[in-house]
Amino acid sequence: MLRSSVRKHSGSLAASPVIRRLFSGAAVIGLLLIIASLIALSTGPVAITPTDTLSALFEWAGFGDSSASRTQQAVIENIRIPRLLLALGAGAGLGVAGATMQGLFRNPLADPGIIGVSAGGALGAVIAISTGFATTSALFLPAFAFVGAAGATALVFAVGIMAGGRSSMASLLLAGVAISSFLGAITSAVILLTSDLQAQRQMLFWLAGSLEGARWESVRIVLPITLAGLAVVVAFARDLNLLLIGEDEARSLGVRVGAVRALLLAAGALLTGTAVAFIGTVAFVGLIVPHSIRLVIGPDHRALLPLSALGGGLFLLIADTLARNLAEPIEIRVGIITALFGAPFFLFLLIKNRSRADSL
């Protein structure tokens, strides 16, 4: 037998390939993030040189005087930094939620929206606009969207459990697909029945997703929730690994499968719901970011989850910067950009790695 008296010895960090992969991945994405952030902060209707942007950042952080003008300083502090942070937060949330759902459902096509979150959020937002609540306070729209997202998720869970029992992930997945379509139909009906053209336009805008409404208030809500959700999911990264190799294996290796699944689904719903509430429905982030990272570093969730957070943030930031600047002064919806660039990129990865991409 492999009786090991050495079990108590602590391992050296460097020996673990997971840590090496995590750190090298984080270094690469981190570097890209810094570059993308600088570009994002410098571009827009008010042009600012990268040097002025850096100096404005220093002043904002409390170091020295900025070389940027008052207007430039205000644009950076009140518009671009919140928008940057919202892109990073929401993108991270969607990326991590995607990685979690794919692992949980053991299905490469699982998306953060698969458990009904996005469809519910959309219906909530559309109702907020059609009833006029959205115009009374800026926080009503995200609040309605979040309630819709949470309500739809709860419904999917209830139906999934009734249909397949606690252990069937397949019935949960199918319930999610069916309920999403159902809610989507109601959303379309509400939009078509709205006579106010202005409101109808606002609804369609929301559905295409945008970071236009980014303010410090939204950042203060999105960032803490996203960080908390990320912490929970990362703490259960190893359990996700085991669930991926099989339910019986996971259970026999000490995972309390039912409890862990419920917790991770709730965390995924919270992350997605928060993002959807503030930026609308943005497709593809949760699908292509985890897959791209998985193709490079492999399926180990201990590296995959943190890197999906960073990668999701980076992807959404790049998409938003393009959305703002491609057709200036008109802003393209960020959801259109993610789908337009995300889908071909994803197809390219699929073909390039055809032997590995068809499973997790």
Binding site: S4, G11, S12, L242, I245, G246, S252, G254, R294, P299
Partner: protein, 433 residues
């Protein structure tokens, strides 16, 4: 006799189980999936130092029993105890350090073989602790023992079924548990790796582990397990040493087959040969069944009698001396024939009895046996056949030890019958109906 000697050994093994006491025990376990009751009060004890085999037909509840022992399913009734403590009261992580479980097959994923085996170490690590050097060393040792180290870096989905099964075993070994539960660990393995897996299980048992495995192959189970449990319809119908469990009566009752159980040539453990299905053979319907008389000797008719019986035909044979290989087979298969003392010449009385069997048969098959004065009458009787098939020696010669008498009889038979090759006998027989 060997059988009795081995029964004594088996009884000793069971006594050993009782003396050591079960480490993991299921008592009157009941499990149903919906309406269907899969386990109907099965009890089993897994003792340290022994390999316990769980055998039985498809759907008899073997895998469910193993999963119940592993604490993977909730029982409707009964209990599973580890060290006398109900498994439900043991923390899942503690349980994972004591009981390792290897399922029959696993999901498709892209972890490498080594990453998978390393997962066996998770129950020994804190939530945020990474695998250390000792875990790496244990993983490497487990992979070396299962012969999987050479593809440590390969992704699981690129491995063959047998290779995956061995990696899966390595994962269970790396868990370093006191109880090892294996679900059909040898099904997709070649002979060499079957042996390696069984040897590894034996090493684990010798090291003090309690090993239990669901086995499909009865002979393999009988050869490698110390204690066997035979399941049928969710109940344990027999348990004990191999000779107590693998008996002709037990297998007829549980599998509805006629089998011969005899000591395996080398190990002396029970080995099972299939003779036929008890309640008619599915392959041949009764209307097609033919009465075939086989004239043979010195083992020339063994495979023919066996094949024709398996196909559902009624088989009879000629005058056969005691100790003749063909007589042994006829006796085991319950084939009517005329008995005679060893190496004696066929008497008139025996010949009369034999000719009656020849006349009653639809077809008579004459094997390419050696013919001497002693069994010449067996050959002559073939002349009374309603339909006659002659099997020829490859060179067309007659194995004649009767100074030409046999050759003369053969020449005559050639006119009445049809010459066939050994492999074509069965289809030739079946064209009769």
């Amino acid at each position: 006799m060997t059988v009795q000697d081995s029964t004594t050994t088996a009884a000793t093994a069971t006594a050993a189980t009782r003396r050591r006491g079960a480490l993991l025990e299921a008592k009157r376990a009941v499990v149903s999936y919906g309406e269907r009751c899969v386990l109907d009060g099965a009890s089993i004890g897994i003792a340290p130092g022994l390999i316990t085999g769980i055998v039985g037909p498809n759907g008899s509840g073997k895998t469910t029993l193993l999963r119940a022992l592993a604490g993977l399913i909730r029982l409707d009734n009964g209990s599973v105890c580890l060290d006398g403590r109900s498994l439900g009261d043991v923390r899942s992580k503690t349980r994972a350090r004591r009981i390792a479980y290897m399922p029959q097959s696993s999901a498709d994923h892209t972890f490498t073989a080594m990453e998978l085996v390393l997962m066996g170490r998770y129950p020994h690590l804190g939530r945020f602790r990474l695998e250390g050097r000792s875990d790496m060393a244990i993983t490497e040792a487990a992979m070396r023992r299962t012969g999987t180290l050479q593809f440590a870096g390969r992704r699981m989905q690129t491995l063959s079924g047998g290779e995956r099964q061995r990696v899966s075993l390595a994962r269970a070994l790396a868990q370093d548990a006191d109880v090892l539960l294996l679900d059909e660990p040898t099904t997709s393995l070649d002979m060499q790796h079957q042996l390696l897996t069984m040897a590894t299980a034996r090493e684990e048992a010798k090291g003090g582990a309690a090993v239990a495995m669901v086995m499909h192959d009865l002979s393999l189970a009988a050869q490698h397990c110390d204690v066997l449990y035979l399941l049928d319809a969710g109940r344990v119908v027999a348990s004990g040493g191999p000779w107590e469990v693998v008996t002709e009566a037990n297998l007829r009752k549980v599998f509805s087959v006629d089998v011969a159980v005899e000591p395996e040539t080398i190990s002396g453990r029970p080995s099972v040969s299939l003779i036929g299905v008890s309640n008619g053979t599915p392959g041949a319907s009764k209307s097609e069944a033919v009465r075939v008389h086989v004239i043979c000797g010195a083992g020339s008719g063994r495979d023919l009698m066996h094949r024709l019986r398996l196909a559902g035909h009624t088989v009879t044979s000629c005058v056969l001396g005691d100790g003749d290989a063909d007589r042994e087979t006829a006796l085991r298969l319950g084939i009517p024939h005329v008995a005679s003392p060893p190496f004696s010449t066929v008497t008139l009385e025996q010949d009369t009895a034999h000719r009656r069997l020849v006349r009653e048969a639809d077809v008579v098959v004459v094997c390419e046996m050696a013919v001497g004065p002693g069994n010449l009458r067996n050959l002559e009787a073939a002349a009374e056949a309603r339909r006659l098939l002659l099997i020829e020696r490859p060179d067309g010669s007659v194995w004649d030890f009767s100074n030409g008498a046999a050759t003369k009889v053969y020449a005559e038979l050639h006119h009445r019958g049809q010459t066939v090759s050994r492999d074509a006998v069965q289809s030739a027989v079946e064209t009769v109906s």
